[in-house]
Subunit: 133 residues, 2 copies
DNA sequence: TAAGCATATACGCAAATGATGAAGTATGGA
DNA sequence: TCCATACTTCATCATTTGCGTATATGCTTA
C-alpha cells in the first residue's frame, strides 16, 4: 500500500515474481534509502569516524581535532561541517574557540556495535586483533 | 600504550594538550578506522542499502534484485560483489540461478537502529515520516 | 580600530567510484 | 554440439569527494 504502482511494474522483470512481490510490501521509499545512505556515507570516511571517535568522551576545538586527526585545520573544519549537517555533532562558541561535541548519543552505540562486530567477525580485522578500548 | 609515539607529537599542535592527551589514550589505530569506514562506506550507497534491505527476509537472485532496485543486472552484480567482499551477503548457485542472502545478522540491527534513529531524530526524515516495517 | 588568532569558506586538483555497454563464463536444454 | 539464459567482468566515462592553499569572517585585546 505504501508503494508506487510504478514499482509494481518491476515484477515483470523478475525471475520469481512471488518472492519479489513479497519483498515489495516491506520496501522503503527511495528517499528513505537516500537518508539511510547519507547517514552511513558520512561515517564511511576514516577521517570522519576518527573525528567522531575523538568526540566520544570529550568536547574539543577544531585545532585539537585537526592535530589528533593529522589533518589540516581547513579539512577538519569541512568534515565537521559535514557532520553538523547530519546533526552528528554540535558546536558552541567560547570566545575565539569553537567547541565541538557529539550531538547524538546514537552514534556512540553505532560505533561500538560495529567495532565489536569487526573485531569478532571480519577476517581482515581478525588478522590484526582489535583492542576495543 | 597502544599509540605510536609519533602520534604524541601532535599534542604540540593542540590548543588544549591535556584534553587531547586524554583522547589519545582511547584512540584506535589508523587501520581500525579504515576498517570501520570501509564497513560504513558500503552502506553509504542508496542502491546497496536497498539491496540489503531486500535481502532482510528473503533469498533472491540477481535478476530479482536488479528489478527491485531499478538497476541494470551488471550494476547489481557489481554491488553484490562489493557486499560480498565485506562479508555482508553470501551466495549459492542453483543451476543457472545465483541465490543471494544476508551473510551477517549484524547488518539487520544496524539498519533497524539507524532507521529508527532517522525516523525520530532527524528533522529531514521527520518531515516525511518513516514507516518502519 | 588595528592586529592577531581560531575558524570558516572558496577554489582547484587528483583520486575514488558508480553506471553503462560489450565481452566473457557457467549451466542446462534442444 | 549449439544455443539460450543467468550472471560476471572489463573498459570507459562522468561525477563526486577529500585535501591543501589562499582568502574571508568572527572574536578579543591592545
Amino acid at each position: 500500500m505504501s508503494q508506487d504502482r510504478t514499482l509494481d511494474a518491476c515484477l515483470d522483470d523478475t525471475l520469481h515474481p512471488e518472492k519479489a512481490a513479497k519483498v515489495l510490501t516491506t520496501l522503503l521509499r527511495d528517499d528513505q534509502f537516500e537518508d539511510l545512505a547519507a547517514y552511513f556515507r558520512v561515517l564511511g570516511e576514516p577521517s570522519r569516524v576518527r573525528l567522531l571517535h575523538c568526540l566520544l568522551d570529550a568536547e574539543l576545538c577544531v585545532c585539537d581535532l585537526a592535530a589528533l586527526s593529522n589533518l589540516s585545520v581547513a579539512a577538519t573544519s569541512q568534515h565537521l561541517r559535514t557532520l553538523r549537517n547530519l546533526h552528528l555533532v554540535k558546536r558552541r562558541r567560547e570566545g575565539k574557540v569553537m567547541w565541538y561535541s557529539l550531538a547524538d548519543e546514537h552514534i556512540r552505540s553505532l560505533l561500538f556495535i560495529t567495532q565489536e562486530h569487526l573485531a569478532h567477525a571480519q577476517p581482515r580485522a581478525a588478522a590484526r586483533p582489535v583492542e576495543v578500548s
